[in-house]
Amino acid sequence: MTVDAPTYTADELMAVTAARRLSDGAVCFVGIGLPSRAANLARATHAPNCVLIYESGAIGAKPRHLPLSIGDGELAETADAVVSVPEIFTYWLQGGWIDVGFLGAAQIDRHGNLNSTVIGDYDEPKVRLPGAGGAPEIASWCRETFVMLRQTPRTFVERLDFLTTVGHQAAGGGGAGVTCVVTDLGVLEPTPGTGELRLTELFPNVTADDARGATGWDLQVADDLETVSPPSAGELEALRALVPANEETVAP
């Protein structure tokens, strides 16, 4: 008798893939959505001593449910300390205490630069996006930055409409910049020497051509391209136990 492999979504494998890259004890600057799922999954599985820092000022938060916003009461209740927003960005982030920062974006280019400001012209935008938030300084000052972003030709672009966040290490800060981009097709990492993002890992049942087709530049592929292993039953169980707080409370 064979046991069917567990089924999972691309979002779940993205969270699992990012979580696996966090070492136990890593100090993480976490945003809402997939990054929060990934970091909390790491804490629930192989990295129980992973430290979660939210830009609202919660240091060492241990949420029992995934928060809907970066300042949910759950984060303050379970944090080791809560500091002011000026303090979190100066002493803790710019001070160089964070190992891994997580970012999303609307667009990324081959150097890992990010746009979260506008689609179209700045003065006559087609789509006005939320803006920079903490992203520019997170990418500058965390030792490494992980980007989590679905891969399409509209998001992986030859040229950004607006450069909100410098992703490569010349950002002028103390960190290495974007060291890993987890997409719904696989993983991109900077090529040693040039820094250009290239495909280094693929999700199961995805081909390098799929990834090339979802990229707006001529995507290079690593010679030793690896396949990401599917989520284990344990990873999936831990991930699904992290029910977002809003799923329980949203009115019909």
Partner: protein, 285 residues
Amino acid sequence: MAEIVPLTEAVRELVRDGDVVALEGFTHLIPHAAGHELIRQRRRDLTLVRMTPDVVYDQLIGMGCARKLIFSWGGNPGVGSLHRLRDAVEHDWPSPLELEEHSHAGMAAGYAAGAANFPFGLVRGYEGTDLAEQTRVGWVSCPFTGERVAAVPAIRPDVGIVHAQRADEAGNVQLWGISGVQKEVVLGSSRSIVTVEEIVPELEPRPDAVLLPAWTITAVSPAPGGAHPSYAHGYYDRDNAFYVAWDEIGRDRDRFRDWMQRHVLDTADVTEYRSLLAARETSPV
């Protein structure tokens, strides 16, 4: 010295058309009741300042109160876009909105500089971004090493407005949990309004709480429930369902105006607003 006055009076006396007004709150203790009062009193041409403009700024912008927005992240946290903010920027509805945008670190440095009475704040950032071209940022050299550092203007609003858990009868304010930039905005503003969940005879000292002494505040106004749909730590939780529902309400101009008419313009204060919402308890719509 803080005067304890009803919120209607505090807004009438202290906020003028054309003022630079910061209603702060970093996901916690967002002064919704005060924002609604600005809308009821039809303030116009405001320059609104906030690191994270969310639903209440969407409402102020959609109701035509703002001329300019100074901010660092404008969205509905965990949900998506602010449709009224986008409509104003993308289609000038109901009127054009000028933007000055920073990173969070830049805004935080600006507020800290405002509180400290410095002309500018410093950030090691902005280098290499397109943001540097679009916003008010300058560059200074370290007098000791020559290193180039970004300078952002101090944020000194005409009026700073925050919400807190409680005040005593003398107007001393106690605030705890995620405290954002609330202390900075009150200390850095020419005039300030603090709305509170309750006024108590005497404040019990709390370690780690932010204390804003009465002599740093212009007006303290009771507004129980005044942070809804955000939360007041120790009083009530964040109404996540409201933020999700706002995506639909805010998306359509007519539906937005109708909602604002019934819930804000046609209610006298936060107490009436809260009872109206409670009466529709299955849905905030």
